[in-house]
Subunit: 360 residues, 3 copies
């Protein structure tokens, strides 16, 4: 039985990755073929020919207009996955049809629905509007992770690790030392974790991009929409500079850090990351710096999580981990994901609203 | 339980591969040691010393006259597999004997019998006489395939794939477009598939080797002897040139394409291929061209089938493929192989004479 | 169920390998972290942080004084494995403690106890005093073996393989041809195998190191303390030169060859080897020669045993090996190891005192 949550939208790609070349990616264990029609629409269908399961993304398979031709025996499919031609006979079997996936291009991402397509509702997709919005400059990428998605969820929900794993990049002593507040909206299925540091060292990531010298106000407000979309609303400002009472914030620098956590298989993950900022919009030097810095940070996570996946694989049954206050948000995320997984399997969720998991 | 058909002869090697160096190859999951006696006879015995299972093909094991000496502790065996010397004592235990395999050198191949040696009957081995016959020039090779043997059987029984996978080498549009006729001799266990194209493009494989310019008559007559030997009787001729009523065919060019499909393990295969022609016998340029062309074509298959093996391995249970008319020969081959496998396990075959598998 | 013997001391490292850098090695399937305190004591504790199981040997984990700081979230542990600091809160959960291992530095080795620490008794550790004793010069190393420990035990207990696998290095025809005598002290759990060659070729290993020309007296006296420590007391002397009646032996050259056979996992082994000699003590050329020669010999074993591990893995159930007189010592070692394994699992040993295993 898969541990991957079914009946959910997942980020499959950046829109820029899908064009008139056949593009394949495994999402939640399913090999999916993506291509754009001549009119520019993204299509998503099974990457297995119905005949002898040859991958339609594998050369010499190719597009002819708005059809894809299998490179093994020439079975040909339209944009909706229906077969339109087979070799050696004129009649096409009526059951010859590729599985087609609900797909939506939004906020620079290609979202795909995994599960029972009849239940797909694109209005449920959480938003990350900054990624292609006027007033923001964005850098982004994707790193493959040889680790299960839950390890990346744990990682991102507990930013105290920035101090140790990402010291010299985005971590400073204050991150690990400052207590967090956690809120869980069980109905909406969203976890909020906040850490407001009012007098903190400024790590290079923010010092070089904002130009602030000296200590800073640094706020981290996490908003996680399980299972896939993680938003970190980050605000930095010179010491003492706070938003106005009316909510406007001309003295603050805002960075929206977005992660999409998409299972590739049970034990590997597509780690999509994006950094949108509302300052230095036209400064390519800042863009280059943030792209390189964030990629470096993500790769530090990749190394650590790949190691943890190996550790998990070799671990004896019944291994017990120990959790403390910093883990409150991560444990809440696990609870919601377990509930979504049960719902995705058609079970009534029996996960308690609050599991006592932090060791006192 | 193995899916590999037992109590059958398989091609283990070309005769030229076996000499006075110890040669090991895994055939149907069994590691077999081959060497030639001083008199030139091929021997086949288990490649595992009876003492501590050291491979007798592994250095510093070596031949001394007509005995092989184990490189670990010096156990020594004769050409019949019987042990003739052990270290530290003069008496040789009477049970010290390697499993010996029935073996026959014929048509340039070394055939070996896998199963109960008491049932081995060398007169049952199908023939491919062209491979070392006066009047033919032959090129041949073997490519290792990281895919189960049945994928190669499927591949070779349905040549419509030449049009797509081997376009520009041996495929033209007519191959995929021309219907086939299939005959099955259930008693003899042979499948025949024919495709006669009377007005076809001439692919480079035949244009450059025969010198014919313009369109051609192209006949493909497959004769498959499951589980191992596949013969493609190929005839090409200038447009309109047919054999004489008496069967003589001075205007035709004949190419005998032979494949021996030998399982290495459940999921890997030795793909032996040979191309024998009855024209341009002394033209080394034609030999070189056909060797390179056919090897290129085989390697295109290897890439495709290795991909399919990976697909099969990761596929959910209950996956259904779809078959059409072009698959009739391949489905017949699967039926006969299933029957042979049941017989090899000592079961009464319960495979129906005709399974309805083509999708209408 | 593990086949590795529990409740035993094993060699984990040479003392020189453990210092102020974090050092991790998997011993009997357990990942153990080793480091030296500022006072120079070796510590041994689990290499998994109690929080999210991050390996404490993995960068950026590091030592601060006599504590180790986890590189993921900063959990900090003392030399006894107790946690002394966690991020984001001042209270440390009282259950936060790494498993700590009994450890002893002796005879140049770091010994660690695997099993129930309450039963650890360091006086039970067998000795190899020559390795750091006045009057001996020692060379040593460790080679990783991708094979189960029992294959190395078999290998070392039956030196007839020197003639074949190590011919030209330490093997001569006399080793395989000379019968052995075997004694087993079941109570102490020690196996003795002796082979005294009174007129033998001198292999390069001894010819170049001792300077003896011509044939030699060569005695091999094995003393194996299962499961871990193997001692080969080797004596060579010019032809006819024997020890004095009072046991003194001024005319003999003595080499103490020591192996520690430590399981890394069920199917891999740390192959520690050392060669101590009582002659040419200050001759660096002899040290270099013996180091290179013995390492070459060990690597010949590594190649052979890695092959055997692969053979074992792919072998059908019920495979029977054949044993002869030379295997008497190895079979005795297997019996004692089986008894120790049963004791380690808390079972009453039911292994017969003498299993009839040699084929007549």
């Amino acid at each position: 039985m898969t541990s991957i949550v079914q009946n959910q939208w997942y980020v499959a790609a950046y829109g820029r990755e899908v064009g008139r070349d056949l593009f394949s990616r495994t999402i939640c264990g399913e090999s999916i073929l993506f291509w754009r029609t001549e009119a520019g629409e993204v299509t998503a269908m099974s990457d297995r020919c119905v005949h002898r399961r040859f991958p339609l993304s594998q050369a010499p398979s190719h597009l002819v207009g708005d059809t894809v031709v299998c490179g093994y025996h020439g079975f040909t499919y339209g944009a909706d996955g229906g077969c339109v031609a087979v070799p050696g006979q004129t009649r096409v079997p009526r059951t010859a049809r590729l599985k087609s996936y609900p797909v939506l291009e939004q906020d620079s991402f290609v979202w795909v629905f995994i599960g029972d397509a009849a239940t797909a509702d694109a209005t449920q997709i959480p938003r990350a509007p900054w990624l292609d919005q006027e007033g923001y400059a964005t850098v982004s990428g994707m790193e493959p992770l040889a680790a299960r998605a839950s390890l990346l969820v744990d990682n991102l929900m507990d930013l105290s690790h920035e101090t140790y794993l990402h010291g010299g990049y985005i971590g400073t002593p204050e991150v690990a030392n400052t207590p967090i507040t956690t809120e869980v909206d069980d109905e909406a299925g969203v976890v909020y974790v906040s850490r407001h540091m009012d007098d903190a060292d400024c790590p290079p990531f923010y010092a070089r991009s904002t130009g602030i010298e000296g200590r800073i106000v640094r706020w981290q407000d996490i908003e996680f929409h399980p299972p896939c979309l993680y938003l970190l609303h980050s605000r930095v400002a010179p010491l003492g500079v706070l938003p106005n009472p009316d909510g406007t914030d001309p003295g603050g620098f805002h960075v929206e850090v977005v992660y999409a956590i998409t299972p590739e298989t049970e034990s590997s993950t597509h780690d999509f990351w994006a950094v949108a900022r509302d300052f230095a919009l036209d400064d390519e030097g800042v863009s280059d710096f943030l792209r390189e810095s964030n990629r470096t940070v993500v790769l530090q996570d990749v190394v650590a999580l790949d190691v943890l996946e190996n550790v998990l694989t070799g671990e004896p049954d019944g291994y017990q981990e120990l959790s403390i206050n910093i883990d409150t948000g991560g444990l809440a995320a696990r609870r919601i994901i377990a509930r979504l997984a049960a719902e995705g399997r058609g079970e009534t969720a029996v996960v308690p609203a609050r599991t006592p998991a932090v060791t006192r």
